[in-house]
Subunit: 344 residues, 4 copies
Amino acid sequence: MVQRKRAPLRSAEAKRARVAIAGATGYAGQELVRWMAGHPAARITAAMSSAPDGPPRALPALNRIWDGVVEPFSLERLVEEADVVFLALPEEAAATNAPALLDRGVRVIDLSGAFRLRDATLRERWYPATRIGALKPVYGLTERNYAAIRTAQLVTNPGCYPTAALLALGPLADAGLLTGDIVIDAKSGISGAGKKPSERTHFSEADGNIAAYGVFGHRHQPEIEQELGAPVVFVPHYVPLDRGILETIFGRLRPGTTVQDVADVMEAAYRDAPFVRLTGETLPEIKHVAHTNFCDIGWRVDGSGRLLMVSVIDNLLKGAAGQAIQNLNVALGLDERTGLLPIG
Amino acid sequence: MVQRKRAPLRSAEAKRARVAIAGATGYAGQELVRWMAGHPAARITAAMSSAPDGPPRALPALNRIWDGVVEPFSLERLVEEADVVFLALPEEAAATNAPALLDRGVRVIDLSGAFRLRDATLRERWYPATRIGALKPVYGLTERNYAAIRTAQLVTNPGCYPTAALLALGPLADAGLLTGDIVIDAKSGISGAGKKPSERTHFSEADGNIAAYGVFGHRHQPEIEQELGAPVVFVPHYVPLDRGILETIFGRLRPGTTVQDVADVMEAAYRDAPFVRLTGETLPEIKHVAHTNFCDIGWRVDGSGRLLMVSVIDNLLKGAAGQAIQNLNVALGLDERTGLLPIG
Amino acid sequence: MVQRKRAPLRSAEAKRARVAIAGATGYAGQELVRWMAGHPAARITAAMSSAPDGPPRALPALNRIWDGVVEPFSLERLVEEADVVFLALPEEAAATNAPALLDRGVRVIDLSGAFRLRDATLRERWYPATRIGALKPVYGLTERNYAAIRTAQLVTNPGCYPTAALLALGPLADAGLLTGDIVIDAKSGISGAGKKPSERTHFSEADGNIAAYGVFGHRHQPEIEQELGAPVVFVPHYVPLDRGILETIFGRLRPGTTVQDVADVMEAAYRDAPFVRLTGETLPEIKHVAHTNFCDIGWRVDGSGRLLMVSVIDNLLKGAAGQAIQNLNVALGLDERTGLLPIG
Amino acid sequence: MVQRKRAPLRSAEAKRARVAIAGATGYAGQELVRWMAGHPAARITAAMSSAPDGPPRALPALNRIWDGVVEPFSLERLVEEADVVFLALPEEAAATNAPALLDRGVRVIDLSGAFRLRDATLRERWYPATRIGALKPVYGLTERNYAAIRTAQLVTNPGCYPTAALLALGPLADAGLLTGDIVIDAKSGISGAGKKPSERTHFSEADGNIAAYGVFGHRHQPEIEQELGAPVVFVPHYVPLDRGILETIFGRLRPGTTVQDVADVMEAAYRDAPFVRLTGETLPEIKHVAHTNFCDIGWRVDGSGRLLMVSVIDNLLKGAAGQAIQNLNVALGLDERTGLLPIG
């Protein structure tokens, strides 16, 4: 087996980066195709469904944006045609295919949860198909892990809920400003439930409705706790909208901490982060980030040191495909905005 | 087999009418349960799913309104326990069970389309499982077929789209006021697609979207034409709302006909119809009829004799369960408003 | 001034109870009209807008349900024509008119917040127009204040958010089962923002969006704290649906308390409460209570004593008009379900 | 007054095109800002509100995409700073400012209806503030008027409804394939009603509802008829979604015309049109064009020569801002896709 070089590509080479998308017909997969089709420094060399059979099919919504066809899944063709592969597959498929690709010298950005948890017991519980072996997955929360992503062979793209939670809480936790319980009440659009029809995703069940789910048992809770280094209470809900997540975060500041301290820490953390927009006391809204890769974060502090944060993302972009492309850019040595935001 | 009497029950007897619902877990079925639970002159003696097996199940949304359980389907129990059965079953099941019930002396109000079409060729095309035999189905558009429904053993409850179309157009067609093409552009809420999850009913497909379907090939078109006695162009659409149908009807008046003629005909037709509300030049809105058994109808006429009508109903009530109960009331000799609207 | 008797009416008399609605064109006001129109033991003798002038107007959506007209506001006519008046007016108008009606011997059920807060400082802050004087407002959370409501002259109907919160937390607080912080994350449909058009209620702003508001400064927070006797963190959000509130409540149980203890306390509290439905570990959904007067409550407890409760209501019914009618029933000595739920 | 040259700019010059947006805070205006911010061959030199006073304000949703401020309206500054001005103003303001700008040598792309109607009587009725004088407005339906737009000083951008209707019907009308009545049933998202809050745009009125409006009296009807050269019946509706228009068009083909003839004409017409996607017998959906400048068109023909077409656009893009930018590109001599679609 030929070993291909694994060093991060420079900008010049990157212009020719060959990128494939496995799982291109799901919601996140189609966003990958849509955005990669216009990427100036990489090109889609293959788009595959998650099944190894079935006829090739076009993506009519993307006609004129991307005029290729989605082919059946083929590991062999991924190896042949791609320098980097986005895996937007079910966990089990990702658990199997990521190691196989890495083994053949192909870099992988995995959008599933298969490689996110480092604790073996938790991983066994939530992602039993995963065999970590000698793999060194790098957690792909771009703003907080930039350096490691640059050289990673396997980027494990964060979950949608953890992305919004960690971008809000991470800097404050790092600075030691938090104390006591952290409660995260998360509201997600229905696209977060995936494309497979079910009672939950039926319009007549979701419309006019809200449903809490996964209480005390959602696999994104250990993911948040792992990256934050602190326990959280996390309750997700589906709300009747298509795209977007809003998380309302309830915490408490260490005595003596002021709202200005919060602002200072947040601003320092995201001074150079093009996709994090701090809104301060003006709480952010989903509508401002829908169809973008932004994460908007606002906060309030009351007289007794209670902290309230609101963090919003598009679950399919910053919560999935957008962040994956941002990670691709970093891994290729490109400006992280490439293909996602005008640079100028 | 004992022949039970088939004469319409009087009000006194009706107080004891035993009514069963087959197909009680679907959208229309649950509305039947909800409204029949409060019906002052009949009682639910059985509620069944459409499958002959599976465990009994409650309907949590209806707890305290109706505290029974939905049992597996059993023709035998329907015969034993009910004077009248609402069939809210798939067409094939209705085609089989309606004759069996009638044969055993049970009156049937069928919400499926199995017995709606009188033309054998059309029926064979759209409802191939139906064997009409000696059955005499009565088309249950209450306002236009009141007398026949009183003594019917088999009421074939109209389709949702035909209900809205025929209540608007019927009186004008009867009066000979129409000429030329009739175009019906119908918009339905997603509950009209039924409870079974599919790509079409997925929130993320339906939200923010409109889809025309069944163009030149929807089985409600021959149903409308049969009852109207004239050809129509009928195109239904799904729009992102849960409950309700709005039909925009484009026609042309016979020369010399005025808007006042239209109003006179409509008012005469519905003078005694408690569930038809004429809004005249103020075009009606779905929101005013949602969760009710009303059909609201408005119209406009331009200087050249063009007629525009708008007709709205709740597809699950006047378009299904509500009209079925209205028909039950008529069949039992009760005030047709019983259980549907305050009387007095 | 003639003193009219104030004792609760018995059922026989109640059949003739004369009820007026002031503020009949708003969302809660129209629900009052809709439901009172079918009330078997009271009749609407007047329905008024909140303005003293303007032409009488019908409520087209309620045609055939209630065929009266909404007249301009007149205190004098309310006194003449009603035994009990529902005030669905802005706070300032309620603050003025409630005392005037009471003074003339008319019982008042006030849906505004004007008389809810007992602490003078808080009342002055949130409802500055209110002069409490010798008034003895009774907090109308029916399930928790039944006896006092029976003889109250002034029932102050609870806020929508407090209703859902207090029905969930009240019994546990009474039983001393709670310890530590209580966080209430509340999600409301847009009808909760009232009928007046604004940027917030614009479809294109609300659709696909969620907005936290009133953080650390919503007047329902002191109302909850007053009735609960404990501080809470309360953050409301608007979500893109019309009717309904879902509250996610995060608390902690006193050490040693089990999920069975919670269930026992809740079941004991609501054994005789027809409108509270306990769903236990199955978390409730807005859709099951929309267009009803129910409050559905479910809960989960984790291994470390964390409590999560979910409480849902229709904000216009149990959160406003429905509970007001429930209170009317109690005040008139009727079964509290009268006109709201089949009794049988 | 210095006369600036009016010839279409070449690509090289176009790179420096200075573009201003008047009316930048409305829905179409914000889309102009969003898309022009990333335009590679023009730059936003000024963005103004429609009012001459008030403080400068940012557009938080566009932060990082466009970091300028929206200033009060100033004709003088538009003249100084822009080669081309997009007017996204109310009709009256457009009627006044367009001539003033043209007079000073600034090219104008007007998104209002002020200059769309050529018939003086109709224009007087629908746009009474307009004084056409010596102006030569060019109707900016890009695909059908490309050559004239290249040199136009005043492009009158089409209405949203006419865009969808004319792109579907225009080629068939030109080819003489149509006969008899044409009925257009149009469904629009609520953003089409503009940003100003009203009862119509209130979420609780629009959600779960559909409303026909402007029956026999919408100003887009004469606009469609003018460009089509044939009368149409046009009825618009608001449906509960934010962005998008779907038009269902009912017509009749000249005897002998086949579905293949229709396909041939449509394909010939749009062979080189990057933003028109023909879907043939697969009817198009709003969701596929939302947030894009595409118009998707499908059709069906029945055995008797009836034609049904469905045409969909995003009302704020191809129906407003997107087409305006497409027209800018043509006027500047650029590839019409510039800034709207990847080219390559």
